[in-house]
Symmetry: C2
Subunit: 237 residues, 2 copies
């Protein structure tokens, strides 16, 4: 019998862990979301302190004896194990490249409400957050979304970023679109009008049976004001 | 005859391209730093616009027919090709995880002088830069450096992050230590006193024959005020 994966991540937010959850769900993999069980946060904290492969921060995944940290790295592994990415170059590297670009966007999205320090409250860095968000909304979201829209439509429309087969990068792009819609509904409305392929990709991923079941379940934590994507209306002007 | 690699990156800075340059140099690989040749920046801009695998931003590497973007992804590939990482799990994933953690630190280092927008000048975001840098110096550098120092010394001292063999993550950590010394000499002096293994790693990498030759050559662009690591004394208090 194969041991279930163990995902170690904060229990009350989607956060970076959500990119891993989506891949595990799409794969139909057997996994335990460790910190969401009773006493699980203590297990998470203890596991951060392993001797051999300590993660700098959650999320990390235990796969049998393997301990894998960093979202894109976990997805690289899960992609190989579950057919969520091509097995050979160049497809394997291309999907990973897209994931790393999405990771950059995720960091920027986080920094809109925490441009000074993660350790400070939003309220203690609000003037800076207003400035950073203005640039994010005016320049950065449009640039990233135009890039992904181009991949989805050039040279011809395609179902997923790399063709007709879903990869972990598509699941992550779905999550980013959902997150940006939550955090920046005004900005996203405008941008999505320009790039209708983004909503198509989002809908296509959301309709995949395993993803649809997940999104309808209690395993999907709702967006909230503690995660990466937060709704502060003043930042979405 | 094997075609030389082509590295596409800005010609006047170390920047993110430097992590790739160091790996190519350590490997003794034949490569062209495209944009540093006459007319090269035009080639760089044109190459950004390729149909099939367009990069979101430089650097990217052409390896025969392959086009690979995102530093960590390029290093994943070069690590496999040139023995700069273990070929099998868990070593392969562990080195990549370390690289991605270094990439996070690099982004934070960049944002110390550009906490609001990359498109603005430093002078236009200086109050924010002062605040962000204070947190970076007090909390973030120490946290990252303690993490890497722990890996270099626990459970027992080792030559490189993963043991006695150099990997691309060691080359990147070398570069980060150099960059932080340049940008935050006061902060680094204090931190390095606490963690002497960091200087040992730095010196060990710098003394590797191919790296030493590279550092002494004109191929190594000096640190300057356009790159990721910049010396603004006011940010290093």
């Amino acid at each position: 019998m194969v041991e279930p994966y163990k995902l170690f991540y904060w229990p009350s937010i989607q956060g970076r862990g959500e990119f891993v959850r989506l891949a595990l769900e799409e794969a139909g993999a057997d996994y335990v979301d460790v910190a969401r069980r009773e006493g699980g946060v203590d297990l998470l904290m203890a596991a951060l302190d392993v001797e051999e492969y300590p993660a700098f921060a959650p999320p990390f995944l235990k796969a049998g004896e393997l301990v894998i940290g960093q979202v894109a790295n976990i997805l690289l592994y899960l992609g190989e194990q579950h057919g969520l990415a091509p097995r050979t170059d160049p497809g394997r590297l291309w999907v990973h490249q897209l994931q790393l670009t999405i990771a950059d966007l995720v960091t920027e999205a986080h920094d809109t409400h925490h441009p000074i320090a993660s350790a400070l409250y939003y309220e203690d860095q609000k003037p800076e957050a207003l400035r950073r968000s203005a640039d994010f909304v005016e320049s950065r979201i449009p640039k990233f979304m135009a890039y992904f829209a181009r991949l989805l439509s050039n040279p011809e429309p395609r179902d997923y970023l790399t063709g007709d087969k879903v990869t972990y990068a598509d699941l992550s792009l779905f999550q980013v679109i959902e997150g940006l819609r939550y955090a920046f509904p005004n900005a996203m409305k405008k941008i999505e009008q320009e790039h209708p392929v983004l909503a198509s990709l989002r809908d296509r991923v959301a309709a995949r049976p395993n993803i649809a079941a997940y999104l309808a379940s209690e395993r999907r934590i709702p967006f909230n004001q503690e995660g990466i994507f937060r709704r502060y209306p003043e930042l979405d002007q």
